[in-house]
């Protein structure tokens, strides 16, 4: 792998959906690059943050259409990659974790089998080796009883355990980039802390790149290295996570002000006043 170049370069990414009545432009010219770091993408529902994540994996289904001046992952032009090669990249080089493990795990297959199957899809390993790998991964995501979790069906696990199992599955193939779309939004705060610590270790110890998509500004500010703030399909502000408090864009400032805070009581919360200029094309 080229040490100097960024892991992922995105330039002028656009995702559009042609419906019967109109053209919906979900992502409108997003550009960023990612190294071996934790990049947060925050925004409200409909801001295009999830579609950005899906577009990188070329998971936008028709009638959705993805275009980009550049979409390059570790020297591979993802826009020019065929579907067969894309299948090889998905799960192996770039993995994705979605919000709710209840919907992303197969309900009629044991958790261990699913992890082993995902591993065998990309690595030439026999059943015994894949099982061993699955158990190792369950240990890596801090499951106390990996054997029991291996044999369990998804409904037998709590939300936090399900999400950790999902992360174990994604990590079995040692991807270089993990796209996590609201990975902790369905979890309790203490479980969220555990899951984030696991992701944090993976980035710092294995040098993985992480795109962390979330609606939670405070969480992203405390967890990520850098943050992109999205509004109406565009990145309106990009800043270091530690400097979120000094955000310059009025949308970011408005979102922060709208959050109730434990330590700073206010009588009335500031309501976001949307400025049509935020959604406009860049000058």
């Amino acid at each position: 792998m080229n040490a100097g170049a960024p892991l992922l370069t995105v330039e002028d990414l656009r995702v559009e959906f042609q419906t019967r009545t109109q053209l919906v432009r979900a992502v409108r010219g997003v550009s960023f690059s990612l190294g071996r770091e934790k990049l947060g993408i925050v925004g409200e529902s409909g801001s295009g943050k999830s579609q950005t994540g899906r577009a990188i994996l070329r998971l936008v289904a028709p009638p959705g259409r993805v275009t980009a001046k550049k979409l390059e992952f570790d020297g591979i032009d993802l826009m020019a990659t065929g579907e067969a090669q894309m299948r090889d990249i998905r799960g192996k080089r770039i993995a994705m974790v979605l919000q709710d493990p209840k919907f992303s795990l197969n309900p009629v297959m044991t958790v261990g089998k699913q992890i082993a199957e995902a591993y065998r899809a990309h690595a030439s390993a026999d059943r015994a080796a894949a099982k061993q790998r699955a158990l190792d991964m369950l240990r890596a995501v801090k499951m106390r009883e990996p054997e029991r979790v291996y044999a369990a069906y998804p409904h037998e696990l709590s939300g936090g355990m399900g999400q950790r199992a999902m992360i174990a599955m994604m990590l079995a193939t040692e991807p270089d980039l993990l796209i996590a779309d609201e990975p902790t939004s369905a979890l309790d705060v203490t479980v969220q802390l555990q899951v984030l610590a696991i992701l944090d270790d993976l980035v710092s110890q294995r040098g993985m790149g992480l795109i962390f998509i979330s609606h939670d500004l405070n969480l992203v500010a405390s967890f990520c290295d850098r943050v992109l703030v999205m509004y109406a399909g565009r990145v309106v502000e990009s800043l270091r996570a530690s400097e979120l408090g000094q955000a310059k864009h009025s949308y970011t400032q408005g979102l922060l002000a709208a959050l109730p805070r434990i330590d700073k009581p206010v009588k009335e919360l500031v309501v976001l006043k949307r400025d049509p200029a935020w959604a406009g094309e860049r000058p």
Binding site: L193, P260, I262, K267
Partner: protein
Amino acid sequence: MSADAAMLAVEDLHVRFGDVHAVRGVSFAVGGGESFGIVGESGSGKTTVLRAVAGLYDEWTGTIRVAGRVVGKSRDRAFRKLAQMVFQDPYGSLHPRHTVDRVLAEPLAIHGQGDAEARIEASLQAVGLGPEFRFRYPHQLSGGQRQRVAIARALILEPRVMLLDEPTSSLDVSVQAEILNLLSRLRAERGLTYILVTHNLAVVAHLCGRLVVMNQGRIVEAMTVEQLRARAPREAYTRQLLRASMGYDREAARGLETFD
């Protein structure tokens, strides 16, 4: 607060679903016009307490008193007029094929209340929706507008107690701010009593004066919002919950404990 003077008093509430003992001896009292929070993680029993108070379960034991009257398993119309509930998910709590008008007219018809026309208009206005919303279907509304309709439906019988189950959890933060402001204003204007169930400590701190923290079906700690703001809970469980709510913290993640 004495149980007699309280608007809502719950004593030794137990809820069992088969072998699952979901609520294990919960007692609290809420005064008239007070805003009271019940906080906890999933499975703590917080929503079960609220639903038992609302009369949505039969499987409970203990005493529930509303406005000085002991209520039983089945609730009469007088109770429903006194206490109304707002649910978490405005996408699931409104009938998809009923217009806003029908949603609001139904409680009036059930309770045999006249003057529906004026009351529907007034309740829409109270939640900040114009008359143009009256004949829309839920799918023509945003999440925040739906939650406003759910609040209008709860308000239309002019209850004194509002049971709020995570009323802003499925909304964007900018919309959450609008709904929280609306709830604050309505309580001030109408002297309503709120019981708010949430996992979000910041929302409780904003809307409530007092709260209880639940874990494993029991109340771990009762505290004032001032104590919460000062980050001075007595119990280790609450301290951990508070710390985890403040965002990602490597040290806190390392020191996590399990409380049974």
